[in-house]
């Protein structure tokens, strides 16, 4: 019997007030309010090198009708931004412990915003002292392998942006790189066009302020909003896929 497949909208790259470059208004409650208003089906929180605010967003979204994926935007040694998505909160928190041993203890410099840790009621729990904008000491290959060892998905972020995009930093994407897809800002950019055929391609907002949430989305054709279906869609299995507009 054939599965009934549906269309789902997704914005899988959103920062919270924990990211040093994001606005303070990106608090768990406000983000959730905005997602509800826009009626996006699936969202992922992806702060720089940290999963500390995911619990807050999860608590704030309780009872609401959208699916939350657990993500992180890791800065590799080559200063490439790499998105990691994980099945469970436990998986991403375990990955975080591993990552912490690869992130140097440099204080967050004053030029950046405070890195605010908040709960589901938008109460400030504390401030992250490590500078989350710094690269970890692992290569992109090592980081991808680690994400996979925690059963996660590895996707280079905004490959068509010069700063921190894989093509800008490393010139090109090696065929042997074990990534599960790519993310681009603009599917019509020259860089995106040259890799679209080789990889499943996501487009997300990379929101650093509330107004940016949902500005770019990916549409998935799959059975439901589970992480498992998301994996199928990336691999193009069982009719699941990413739709191009």
């Amino acid at each position: 019997m054939k599965d009934n497949l549906n269309l789902f909208t997704a914005d899988l790259h959103i920062h919270t007030c924990l990211s040093p470059c994001a606005e303070l208004e990106m608090s768990p409650k406000e983000i959730v309010k905005k997602i509800k208003k826009l009626k996006i089906d699936i969202v992922a929180i992806t702060d720089h090198n940290s999963s500390l605010n995911i619990q807050g967003v999860r608590d704030a979204s309780r009872g609401l009708d959208f699916k939350l994926f657990y993500g992180m935007e890791i800065t590799t040694r080559e200063e490439v931004h790499l998105l990691g998505y994980f099945y469970t909160l436990k998986a991403i928190n375990d990955f975080q412990k591993f990552l912490d041993s690869h992130l140097e203890n440099t204080d967050n410099p004053k030029i950046f915003e405070e890195q605010v840790i908040a709960n589901g009621k938008d109460e400030v729990l504390g401030f992250c002292k490590k500078n989350l904008y710094m690269p970890i000491d692992l290569s992109i290959e090592q980081t991808i392998d680690s994400i996979h060892s925690f059963k996660g998905i590895a996707i280079p972020a905004h490959i068509d942006r010069m700063g921190f995009g894989i093509v800008g930093q490393l010139g090109f994407i090696k065929e042997t790189l074990k990534i599960d897809g790519i993310e681009c800002y603009d599917r019509n950019s020259e860089i995106a066009k040259s890799y679209l055929k080789r990889y499943p391609t996501l487009t997300s907002s990379d929101a650093h302020k509330l107004d940016d949430i949902g500005k770019r989305i990916t549409i998935f054709k799959m059975k439901d909003r589970s992480f498992k279906e998301f994996k199928f869609a990336l691999r193009g299995e069982k009719g699941r896929r990413i739709l191009f507009l």
Partner: protein, 115 residues
């Protein structure tokens, strides 16, 4: 000027391509974004970078640089060095930063020009 002269004067470590130190240094380029190096560096350049990723070998070989000089260097991936040997790419390293190296290299180039 021969590459060997820079290697000797700056006391650089030769990590790959020991047999190609008689290459002629035509110019230099400094950059850590490989897309920028691909777009703007020239054949015969000595390329200074902090990147150690294997892609530097492909970029350097494509552009026909005389060598890659890794500055602020702690450690280089094994894969990078293996590829470099295959591709006949010279990889040099130093603990000095790029600016300090460039000052010395320019000095050497000027001396060479006058003699």
């Amino acid at each position: 000027m021969k590459l060997k002269k820079i290697v000797d004067k700056l006391k650089l470590k030769v990590l790959s391509g020991k047999e190609y130190l008689d290459r002629e240094v035509k110019g230099g380029y400094s950059g850590d974004m490989l897309s920028d190096v691909l777009a703007n560096s020239k054949e015969g350049d000595i390329w200074l970078t902090v990147q150690v990723h294997p892609n530097i070998v492909a970029v350097s070989s494509m552009k026909g640089h005389c060598a890659v000089l890794i500055t602020n260097c702690k450690e280089v991936d094994k894969e990078t060095l293996e590829k470099a040997e295959e591709e006949k790419v010279v990889i040099l390293s130093t603990k000095l930063d790029s600016f300090s190296c460039i000052k010395e290299i320019v000095k050497l180039m000027k001396d060479e020009g006058q003699s």
